[in-house]
Symmetry: C2
Subunit: 330 residues, 2 copies
Amino acid sequence: MNRQWLYAKQPQGKIGKDTFEWREVAIPEPQPGEALVRTRLLSLDPANRAWMMGKTYRDALQPGQVMSGFALGEVVESRAPGLAKGDLVEGDWGWQDYAALPARQLTRRITEAPIELLIGPLSVTGLTAYFGLLEVGQPKPGDTVLVSAAAGAVGSMVGQIAKIAGCRVVGTAGGQDKCDWLVKQLGFDAAVDYKAGNVFRALRAACPDGIDVYFDNTGGPVLDAALALANLRGRVVCCGNVSQYDVERPAPGPMSVPGLVVVKRLRLEGFIVMDFYDRRAEAEARLARWIAEGRLKAELDIFDGLETAPDALIGLFEGNNRGKRAVRVS
Amino acid sequence: MNRQWLYAKQPQGKIGKDTFEWREVAIPEPQPGEALVRTRLLSLDPANRAWMMGKTYRDALQPGQVMSGFALGEVVESRAPGLAKGDLVEGDWGWQDYAALPARQLTRRITEAPIELLIGPLSVTGLTAYFGLLEVGQPKPGDTVLVSAAAGAVGSMVGQIAKIAGCRVVGTAGGQDKCDWLVKQLGFDAAVDYKAGNVFRALRAACPDGIDVYFDNTGGPVLDAALALANLRGRVVCCGNVSQYDVERPAPGPMSVPGLVVVKRLRLEGFIVMDFYDRRAEAEARLARWIAEGRLKAELDIFDGLETAPDALIGLFEGNNRGKRAVRVS
């Protein structure tokens, strides 16, 4: 059997259990040119929620389809040239045990790294942090780098890479526990609990020299505060808007756009990690080396069993994750 | 006598006559190192209003001081090395007949161009359009360039320079007269009257291939629409926010920041023309040549007499200018 979670209906406000629907169908037969893949791990990402809201860098999800999501799996049968039984592959085949896919939708992974690292730190998540911070943010040694959702999959990597780049690093996260973890375990210079109130004042205290690079995973009040505290020619890496994904009515945009952008000559720039995939191999090699050397901690937050996927995603928006959240399917 | 307009008090909402106060005082004596300058022309700029709102790239205006503003004048007495009687100079000595200033606050102008061109098209205004569009906006031939406040001093130059750069050019302006002028006299491909309602729909019709570069002088609804219509990797040149300067309560920021910035990989970047002044000579030479060749029309909108300065500035925010507004003082 092929167990699946369907995307059942568009949420009004927060996603819930009824956003998804369980189904069991026959395992598909691979056609000529296709490989049959068995899912090992599913990546749970805030972007999954954004896809429910409309067209983004991909088409919007349509109720009734298998819930989309980045996944890692193993080829169990191949009718595709270049792919063989046992190959590890990644792709976006979503929340199901099996999928039959054409070879061009699969990326083969050849690596010595543990499989869990391939679902995030040495894949989309790590590369997002790496290219977003270093290429879009252009941090210089001594810069103050702020990152929001810093205890999350991307944010925790961004902060550590910024430390490797010689920056002073401040993160925002929800709750004192996460903040302590950022400072004590991941080497952040400071962390601000955005749930504790007055984010602006807390960030001003945590960033006495202002902010040179803000890696924005959240939008919302942290973006407002970061723009207000940005230094001349500060850069804002626009990676996500997670504070506005799981709400019924998005908040108004940042008041200081475009006013402060002009006055302080700021640069706000959006990116999608795939834009940098021609340099993926180089980046993955560096990330793998940093992890092996212990300079980069790849925190994993893994749920067990396909049936847990809805809870794992719902929990992301309740902020109960630390590091890379994934679901182990087989 | 030295006639002056003081900045009398901070406006609540729109500026009015009572924002300024007339005064007549003695002509200052230049001290050693200073030159006494007689004002010829005053530049009237939306930025003058922004300076009343707080610190920008310069300190906020303080009630009681001579109203600030960029000016062009003639040295009438010099105790400064390198400056002689009769020299044309520019600087920010504000709304008065005379000022005594140290040489470092004055820039000598050596040019054959008519003096009126030196207050805008061959100075701050023209350079703002030139560097903002070409360096920050990075237009490519065939791109669609949108510029707001297109009938204004900067906007009218931006549009024409974009045409020279091989782009399709669309402008927004208030009223059909200005829109006709942009298309018929300045060679814009299309113009949209933002006062006629539904700016988004009108811009969508005027930009069938989307927008690659938006030169933003206004913020507000045109910025919202431009972000919605921006193409992948579109650039927004953040030059001004004039829709929000002369209001009591600024509007909320653009809803699509940061959401669409991420999805479409947009770049929003602020700049101040002075950042590019090391390349001023080259840019002025090109602008002067384009004007001489008739490829760039430098529209002037000149009021006569220092006493008209408040009305000239108030009128800018009523949108009654076309091209570069200045006041002829002597």
